[in-house]
């Protein structure tokens, strides 16, 4: 059996993290500190090479043999990044860092608006009415029940998220149905996700028993 120091470290740190299930203890604290420190360092290096080198440096100064044009627009991003560092100079220049933040927030809101409209609103209407199209075109009892359930559920779900009217009377009744639809959906999603998390746990146990202890071949 070959001794692999990497597997031993990974196994001991896995056990250290799992020891949190008992209570907060010194082994967990050590594992946590190693995990946080190593990952922070890893991400620093990763972001440096991915963004500053591969994206910016290679983009602005491309290999002459590649035939690519220099992308000077990348200096815009660098400028925003440099402005973020103005916080290092205290309150006098710190306010400058709000400009790149404002740019990011504004650009995000603008870009995401149409994406959300297309993927959430239009796609939702498409899917709901599309269900009816399919069910009516080739009518079966199960198909019609499914299409009706989806349509009523979507409608009542939307009523729940309507904020301009108090949930009282008939409107409150529809919102209540919407709440039920949401909770049933959450219940199904809960069970499904728990099963997928079990597979993660099994993966970790498999690592301990096969790669580390070699109890499973």
């Amino acid at each position: 059996m070959q001794f692999d120091i990497g597997i031993w470290i990974a196994a001991l740190l896995t056990l250290g993290i799992i020891s949190f299930l008992y209570k907060d203890n010194v082994i967990y604290k050590v594992s946590e500190a190693i995990f946080v420190g190593v990952s922070a360092g890893f991400w620093f290096i990763s972001l440096f090479w991915d963004n500053i080198y591969r994206k910016f440096w290679v983009g602005v100064f491309p290999d002459p043999t590649s035939g690519k044009e220099p992308q000077y627009i990348l200096f815009g991003g660098v400028l925003l990044g440099v402005l973020m560092l103005s916080r290092l100079f205290g309150n006098k220049a710190g306010w400058i860092s709000r400009w790149p933040l404002a740019f990011i927030v504004g650009a995000t809101a603008g870009l995401k608006m149409i994406t959300f409209l297309a993927s959430n609103a239009v796609a939702q209407i498409n899917a709901t009415v599309g269900n009816f199209v399919a069910a009516v075109a080739a009518p079966t009892f199960a198909g019609l029940v499914t299409a009706s359930t989806v349509t009523i559920g979507t409608f009542c779900g939307l009523v729940y998220f309507f904020f301009s009217k108090e949930h009282k009377g008939w409107f409150g009744g529809l919102a209540q149905v919407g709440t039920w639809v949401l909770m049933i959906t959450f219940g199904a999603s809960f069970g499904y996700t728990v099963m997928s998390r079990m597979s993660l746990l099994l993966g970790r146990i498999d690592f301990l028993l096969s790669d580390w202890l070699h109890l499973i071949k």
Partner: protein, 422 residues
């Protein structure tokens, strides 16, 4: 004598084994030979098959509409090769220069069209289409060089533009209405009513408040919504002279979080009580961040935990740890897969759009209230489209009522709804 005996036994054994192997192998060899003989006439037939000359394959190259200059449509006219018995497929090859080094980008049997989804808008491509037979290919002439074109407007998404304009108009209308001083009603949201109570509890117990604005960066609207609520929470914290701790996974969120809390302390008239240490970066690694946040929770034992933003697999880990330290937990996310965990483990949960509505509800600012009201108009529009669409489809297809056929057709075109093949 003994040596001779051993030699004889070995020779007999080898001979016996050889005979045994021969007996086993012979029938298989004979069968394989007969199969080869049986197959040979067919092979010969295939080899001598002739492909009749049905004329050239004429090809067209067109730009793919409404895209960012990434695709070309290669079409051709089939002279009749598809109906020949040995026809396999049409094969489309892309060339980026004058050489014969092409790259096969797709095949098709019946549909005389292939989309090259990796075409460039800066390099010209030419194409050939080949009708492929078992041992023969009929290749078209090379097409004229063509480049993909960037379209600035996605014409196939005009429904999105119309709805967008309609919703934006409604938002502007309600913002102006609110600015004129008219009161806009918003129904109460249970989780938000509990914020003051939760902060007050932490103050009474002398314990801090933990705030996690999700694990995404500033380019996620859920993070922005979480930070907006942070402003209100921080103001209450400042007023009650309590403590707040905000671990961050992204450096930009840390910077924005500091700005928000600093502003809240200023508004509350307590700028001296603010410290940058209230907000701190941990690591970009998802579970590293979770491990550190769990550590903070079990060591500092915050009385109240807020989880408002975009969460993934860590949602239940955080919420369960918060539960174990008996903290009041208020969560909010628009991640459908994580909502069940928050609903199960937290005291209050802002579901989906409630998270976005929360900022308007808390701020009572005309711009945010008007925006929320405008979005409600968009939701009403969606509800009407779903009901009218459902009824129209049923009446149009089941009873062929003309008016509803028109409405159904209009809705299907607007929302790009495909009619199933009957």
């Amino acid at each position: 004598m003994t040596a001779k005996l051993y030699t004889t036994i070995t020779a007999i054994t080898i001979t016996a084994l050889s005979l045994l192997l021969l007996l086993i192998a012979a029938p298989h060899a004979l069968l394989a030979q007969s199969d080869a003989v049986a197959e040979s006439p067919d092979s010969a037939t295939t080899a001598v098959a002739q492909v009749p000359d049905l004329g050239p394959i004429l090809i067209t190259v067109e730009d793919f509409p409404s895209d960012a200059g990434e695709a070309l449509i290669i079409g051709w006219e089939d002279p009749g090769y598809v109906s020949l018995p040995d026809f396999i497929e049409y094969r489309v090859t892309r060339y980026t220069d004058d050489s014969d080094n092409g790259m096969v980008i797709g095949t098709s049997v019946l549909n005389p069209e292939v989309i090259d989804g990796e075409a460039s808008h800066s390099i010209a491509h030419s194409y050939t289409v080949a009708a492929v037979f078992p041992d023969h290919e009929v290749i078209s002439a090379r097409s004229e060089p063509a480049m993909a074109e960037i379209q600035w407007v996605a014409a196939d998404k005009y429904a999105v533009i119309i709805i967008g304009i309609f919703v934006c108009a409604a938002v502007i209308f309600f913002i102006e209405t609110a600015k004129r001083g008219k009161t806009l009603f918003l129904r109460r949201i249970a989780g938000l009513e509990a914020i003051d109570e939760a902060v007050g509890r932490a103050t009474e117990m002398g314990r801090p408040i933990l705030f996690v604005a999700g694990i995404q960066d500033m380019d996620d609207v859920q993070t922005l919504a979480g930070l907006t609520i942070l402003g209100r929470v921080a103001r209450t914290v400042a007023q009650y002279d309590s403590k707040i701790n905000m671990p961050c996974r992204a450096s930009l969120v840390m910077t924005a979080g500091r700005e928000v809390i600093k502003e809240a302390y200023n508004v509350a008239g307590r700028p001296d009580a603010y410290s940058d240490d209230m907000v701190h970066y941990v690591t970009d690694e998802q579970f590293g961040f979770v491990a550190a946040t769990n550590g903070i929770m079990v060591r500092e034992k915050p009385a109240t935990c807020f989880y408002l933003g975009a969460f993934f697999a860590e949602s239940l880990i955080l919420a369960e740890t918060g539960n174990s330290i008996e903290a009041i937990q208020i969560a909010g996310t628009a991640m459908p897969a994580q909502l069940p965990f928050f609903v199960a483990a937290c005291d209050y949960t802002l579901i989906g759009e409630e998270l976005f509505a929360a900022s308007a509800y808390l701020s009572e600012e005309p711009r945010q209230l008007g925006s929320l009201k405008g979005q409600d108009v968009g939701k009403a529009l969606a509800m009407i489209a779903i009901v009218v669409g459902g009824i129209s489809v049923t009446l149009a297809q089941a009873w062929d009522i003309g008016l509803f056929q028109v409405i159904e057709s209009a809705l299907r075109t607007a929302f790009n709804i495909q009619l199933p093949v009957r």
